[in-house]
Assembly symmetry: C2
Homo-oligomer: 250 residues x 2
């Protein structure tokens, strides 16, 4: 084998092979709570890293499920397509999030996963994950926790879509983003909206004009400063009060 080929191969493996044990998202991601030895085992689980350019699909609705995907970097949305073409954004996903769990039941993806900026995802073959979690109870537990959290998140979205008004929805959305950025070590008060107003609207059950107007409204009230995709939260407490008015005990 010529030297250059070997060289390339090494580089390739280096690029594609991913190790949880050296990943900064350890604490946030699937292997959270594992010990050294377990982590080493989980390393063997991660097949390869998959880059997804902005606008590209990580997977598509209807395609068959083989792997779950842990987002390593970037930003994605998942969306369900109605027969008549209407799109419902089901969630926004960032590093450390696990995607594809909706497909385990039917072995077919239910939603599209699209990168909103250049991203990278770790491919986790489901069969291997299941096999491994039989031997590592804490992995099993954590996997269950992650699925459960997704269900809990969904309930929150239902609450939002089913019984909140436009202002409340937007405020809840911004607070949620803020909190997730914070959990990942970024500023909770200043960040970029990676998605368009239309995508925000779809997620929140609003039209893009309403999203735009409501953001402008928040800005006029001095709650936030938006310029395009860049957002700064000025009065986070006021936003919180919008979502849960006053000191109302339930």
């Amino acid at each position: 084998m010529p030297k250059t080929a070997t060289r390339l191969r090494v580089v390739e493996v280096d690029r594609l092979k991913t190790a949880c044990s050296t990943c900064s998202l350890q604490e946030l991601c699937l292997p959270a709570g594992l010990n050294e030895a377990e982590l080493k085992t989980v390393d063997q689980l991660i097949d390869r890293r998959r880059p997804v350019k902005r606008g590209e699909y990580l997977f598509r609705a209807g395609s068959s499920l083989n792997s779950l995907y842990a987002i390593r970097s970037g930003f994605m949305k998942s969306s369900v397509l109605h027969d008549d073409g209407r799109e419902q954004v089901a969630g926004f996903h960032m590093m450390g999030d696990l995607m594809g769990m909706d497909a385990i039941g039917t072995s077919q993806h239910l939603c599209d996963a699209v990168a909103l900026e250049d991203s990278e995802a770790c491919e986790i073959p489901l069969k291997d994950l299941e096999a491994l979690s039989r031997n590592i109870p804490s992995l099993q537990q954590h996997f269950h926790r992650i699925m459960s959290r997704e269900i809990a998140r969904d309930y929150g979205v239902m609450l939002l879509l089913g019984s909140m008004r436009a202002e409340e929805r937007l405020a809840a959305f911004l607070l949620n983003l803020s909190q997730r950025f914070e959990a990942r070590g970024y500023s909770p008060l200043e960040f970029n909206l990676r998605m368009t107003r239309e995508e925000i609207g779809s997620y929140l059950g609003l039209k893009l004009e309403t999203v735009s107007r409501t953001l402008s409204g928040f800005q006029a009230q001095g709650l936030i400063a938006v310029q395009n995709k860049h957002l700064r939260i000025l009065k986070i407490e006021s936003l919180r009060e919008l979502v849960s008015p006053q000191g109302c005990r339930n």
Copy 2:
């Protein structure tokens, strides 16, 4: 020990002890797809059957999670309470459904589970389920499938809440109920609505008046016959078309 005491004890065990291996919901419920021997093992999992009278709680939001619950008979709703008292019904659950999965992540229930009619649930200690599913791959797989299906269902609800109009929501709701009754061996075209118009409304993000009006509308168009809680579907195809208009390919 006096004879009567023994007698009582036997009766009690008989009432509380539940066996999957003799349960008619086997195929629908957690143990679906297990063989004889595995089924016998799972029998040991089911701690006890718990009766829940109409209006009573199976569990409440905030209480700590110990067990999942498989509904054996009856009908329940799960609902999330907003701080200010607004209630969002997150789902309706019938026999064979598994409840409580939203709580695994935090070990705290996120929603209330209330019986809409006298019901019975099988208590499944989570720790035991996890332990057992480490030894029985098909149980593990099926458990994952069930959680995944819940996520998929939630995505469907988001689609409904986020991008459908009142008529479409109601039609989708009726079709969903119809299908679930059919899967359980009941008539898909004639059944009782166990929940109030207000609960339907909460689930669908509509007010009870709108639910009532829309049902009346369907009746006027000859799609259904409603009287109170009793419902008969007359033109199921027309209902389907309401949800997915014409032959629109996506």
